[in-house]
């Protein structure tokens, strides 16, 4: 039987929160069985409603609905890890709703990311490169013979596969030429290969000269060129580790994970499983190592309160908190930890916490807290939010709540409201 604290940590990092039912289900298992269980995406049976997959007249309304549907799914899916990984890929193979303002195409792209979240990385890279929103976002739809646009070619290597310093400017130029002609149909805006705009001349890419075509570039990076494939494997292993465990991992961990990744010909599922089974994943450094991003923190609130994203008003706060779905800040995606720790962004989190607290009180809950002992009340609210308070935090909050109760007189709801808000803004809730 795996250690309960490790199970809770595993669930927090994969399913956003450690639901009691999930802890109970995983507790009798070995760690490996538990990891297999969180990866059992066959349990996820919901999909977006049919209307949402088709372009609607009210595009922004559709976008809002998509945003809320996805957050709700993160909070309520049988195996939310699939959604968390989809979020990772959304922030890795980045594009932005604003590139085309086509909610249907955006949903289609996210659907690809969900389907391939633990699939083959090379197949995934091929597929994502011809998604309409990607072609538009990185301007490959304007990449034409005689007037090449390097945007996509550069980001393909710099941000999507290899990282800076592992290719040259002339490789970017060659890759851009190879990707000419892969564009959007003028009418339908779906992917179209326009041979008349494709540069069929010889290009020299990673030292090989031939008439390279776009998809062949991806194969060259991720299959046929062993040194580059190894670099890509380390690049992706590192990114996934930093997303799931902690930033700036030890090189030895990454090297081992990358070796395994190459050995499976870049299958993502075994890589993720290997990450979740490493002892370092269960270290104190890992358990204390990640600040919940705004989406992760919001989903935790939804999961614990049972509110929908619409009711909690998440979308209106997203940009101010520093993260809104479908709107990454740039093609490098969202950063982590310190990136979210600015006064302005935390003001936005706090205002969302106020909103959620108001909703909780409005729905008539927590009245019973008013008559409990302060210590019991605090423990109750902490448990409600899945928070395990450090002793110093706990005694400080009990003390504040007691003084607050004394000061408010008859209107104890004010004190309860403050306690709810405070709990959502603890270090334990934001760095669980």
């Amino acid at each position: 039987m795996a250690d309960t604290n490790d199970i809770i940590h595993l669930l927090r990092r994969t399913e956003f929160v450690a639901r009691a039912s999930r802890v109970a289900a995983l507790q009798p298992m070995t760690l490996e069985q538990a990891v297999e269980d969180v990866l059992d995406f066959s349990r996820n049976t919901t999909s977006p409603p049919a209307w949402m997959t088709v372009l609607q007249q009210d595009r922004y309304g559709q976008l809002v609905a998509m945003h809320n549907w996805w957050l709700d799914t993160m909070a309520t899916a049988a195996r939310p890890f699939q959604e968390k990984l989809t979020l990772f890929w959304h922030g890795h193979f980045v594009s932005d709703y604003g590139a085309m303002e086509r909610p249907d195409f955006t949903l289609q792209q996210i659907g690809l990311y969900r389907r391939m979240a633990v699939g083959n990385f090379r197949a995934f890279t091929q597929a994502m490169s011809i998604e309409p929103v990607m072609l538009a976002y990185l301007s490959n739809d304007k990449n034409m013979k005689g007037n090449p646009n390097e945007n996509f070619a550069r980001e393909l290597m710099e941000l999507f596969t290899l990282g800076v310093g592992n290719y040259s400017q002339s490789d970017v130029v060659a890759a851009a030429r190879a990707w000419t002609g892969h564009t959007l149909d003028f009418e339908t805006k779906t992917y179209r290969f326009d041979a008349t705009q494709h540069d069929t001349g010889n290009k020299t890419f990673f030292g090989t000269t031939k008439n390279w075509d776009g998809p062949e570039i991806i194969d060259e990076i991720l299959r046929d060129n062993k040194p580059k494939q190894a670099i890509a494997a380390r690049f992706m292993a590192r990114k996934l580790w930093e997303f799931l465990a902690y930033p700036d991992p030890e090189q030895a961990i990454i090297d081992e994970l990358a070796t395994g990744f190459v050995a499976t010909d870049l299958e993502i599922r075994p890589l993720v499983k290997a990450i979740l089974l490493r002892p370092e994943f269960y270290s104190t450094k890992a358990k204390q190592g990640l600040v919940r991003s705004p989406v992760e923190w919001s989903v935790a609130l939804l999961a614990h309160t049972g509110f929908t994203a619409a009711r909690a008003g998440i979308m209106d706060r997203g940009l101010d908190m520093g993260q809104r779905l479908f709107n990454p800040p740039n093609v490098a995606g969202w950063k982590s930890n310190g990136y979210y720790l600015t006064t302005g962004m935390l003001s936005a989190r706090a205002k969302l916490a106020q909103q959620v607290a108001n909703e909780l009180l409005f729905s008539g809950g927590f009245g019973y807290l008013e008559t409990m002992s302060p210590a019991l009340a605090v423990d109750n609210v902490a448990a409600f939010f899945g928070v395990v308070l450090a002793p110093t935090s706990r005694s400080a909050i009990i003390d504040s709540f007691s003084s607050d109760l004394a000061a408010v007189g008859w209107n104890k709801r004010l004190a309860v409201g403050n306690l709810l808000i405070t709990m959502m803004l603890t270090g334990e809730m934001n760095v669980p």
Binding site: D320, N330, K335, G338, L341, T342, T343, L346, T422, V431
Partner: protein
């Protein structure tokens, strides 16, 4: 053939709005008290033991300025505005020859001299210039420019070229060098994302939402108790450095909010475009004398690869209105210690491209505005015919000279430390910040291009 990435500048701005993650990692034993607290802009509190953090706002938080401490407002225009259509060479045949459909007609230009003039939208800037309060530094860039837009932005915000150690911004490093008490609330950005130039190695600026709708701004007793309760949690909880960094930032947020709240309550909501609203709030924050010495406002969308004219016209209108609003709002008593600095990345191409836009270039004019600015033209407009190997203009003034001249001439010094070297003193100021006798300004050279 484009050499540079065609990324939207907003994207790059955000990419450069925080240091890379590996600067943020806690040490093996967790962060030292001073390091994590100063890293979230809590300044002086870093010098104080954690047990003293409880119970009350440390008086060090509000450190009003004397009238002789220099203040800058950086107006950061992301994307690289098209300088040739801002300071226009209206008698230059190459300019007209290479920009059919985009060049500004000579009769529309607001003349500076018989060779250059302002874009027609810049009436406020012209009138400030005519009263000697604007320094136009021409041909700003650096030698052997990097053609990657992304890399150029990094260089510009960091104030260093190719130095791998300088993963921080120039004003952030200035902030690092302040004494602990002066660092409190010394630098603020008025946008959601804190820009790289306000991030130092140990300190970073705060961000203040300009709608005034900050958490922590209420003075209702129940809310004050809430805030106190949250602030009490900023202590070593024994759960590692990130936990403590979070609670310390929440505490900073509350303290900044209560400090700036009076600036917003009762005041009319700032009106106009985004830049004008930010500049209005910046002036109010300066008037409130909270200790702020650097305020950054910004706008993006200057990266006009396609159909430049309407976009640039709109942005220049916003800039001009914003400057008018700023100086109208700024208390007269503060004027002698305030300089506005308009910054952007390095320029655009001389010729118009196939989409009635311009692509990334190498040099631009930048502006300093204030009553203590040594007004006039600095440097000369780079030639439109003698060009570098990529067909772009040759920079005349290293951008670090501007930073150094500001740091040493206006912000109390530290230029060579911040910039990792000495750069030309451009003598941009007619005297130190504050009232007091102004020596006769020397007239800088006004060379026609």
């Amino acid at each position: 053939m484009r050499h540079e990435s065609d990324l939207e500048t907003e994207d790059m701005v955000a990419a450069l709005s925080q240091p890379d993650p590996d600067l943020e990692r806690p040490g093996p034993n967790g962060w030292t008290r001073r390091k994590f607290l100063t890293a979230v802009g809590a300044g002086a509190i870093g010098a104080v033991a954690s047990t003293e953090l409880f119970g009350g706002v440390p008086s060090a938080w509000a450190a009003p300025l004397t009238t002789s401490e220099g203040i800058i407002v950086t107006v950061t225009m992301y994307g690289g505005y098209d300088g040739l259509n801002v300071v226009v060479p209206y008698t230059n045949s190459t300019y007209y020859g290479r920009r059919p459909g985009l060049a500004i007609a000579p009769e529309q230009v607001l003349q500076i001299n018989n060779a250059i003039g302002w874009a027609p939208q810049l009436t406020t800037l012209k009138s400030l210039y005519d009263s000697g309060q604007v320094a136009v530094v021409q041909g700003v860039g650096y030698a052997n420019p990097n053609l990657s837009h992304f890399d150029s932005m990094k260089i510009w915000m960091r104030g260093s070229i190719g130095n791998p150690l300088q993963e921080s911004g120039w004003l952030g490093r200035w902030l690092d060098g302040l004494s602990a008490t002066s660092a409190d609330l010394a630098a603020a950005g008025l946008n959601t994302l804190l820009p790289m130039h306000l991030v130092g190695a140990n300190r970073k600026g705060v961000t203040i939402p300009i709608d005034g709708n900050n958490f922590g701004a209420s003075s209702v007793p129940a809310d004050l108790r809430l805030y106190d309760g949250i602030k009490r949690l900023a202590a070593n909880a024994g759960r590692g450095g990130w936990h403590d960094a979070f609670t310390a930032t929440m505490k900073s947020q509350l303290e900044v909010a209560s400090l700036v709240a009076p600036t917003f309550t009762g005041a009319a909501a700032p009106a106009g475009d985004e830049l004008t609203r930010q500049l209005t709030v910046a002036a109010r924050l300066i008037n409130a004398n909270l200790g702020l010495r650097v305020i950054d406002v910004s706008t993006s969308g200057l990266d006009h690869h396609v159909n430049q004219a309407p976009g640039l016209t709109a942005k220049l209108t916003d800039l001009d209105r914003g400057l008018a609003a700023f100086f109208a709002e700024l208390a007269p008593g503060r004027r002698p210690q305030v300089t506005v600095v308009v910054l952007t990345e390095f320029g655009r191409t001389i010729g118009v491209n196939g989409s009635l836009g311009t692509d990334h270039g190498t040099t631009n004019p930048m502006f300093l505005i204030g009553s203590k600015v040594n007004g006039g033209l600095y440097g000369s407009m780079p030639s439109l015919t003698t060009l570098d190997s990529h067909g772009r203009q040759l920079a005349q003034v290293d951008f670090r000279s501007i930073y150094g001249s500001i740091l040493d001439g206006w912000m109390g010094g530290g230029g060579s430390t911040v910039l990792g070297g000495s750069f030309e003193d451009l003598r941009l100021f007619s005297g130190p910040p504050g009232p007091g006798t102004t020596p006769t300004p020397t007239t800088p050279t006004t060379t026609a291009p």
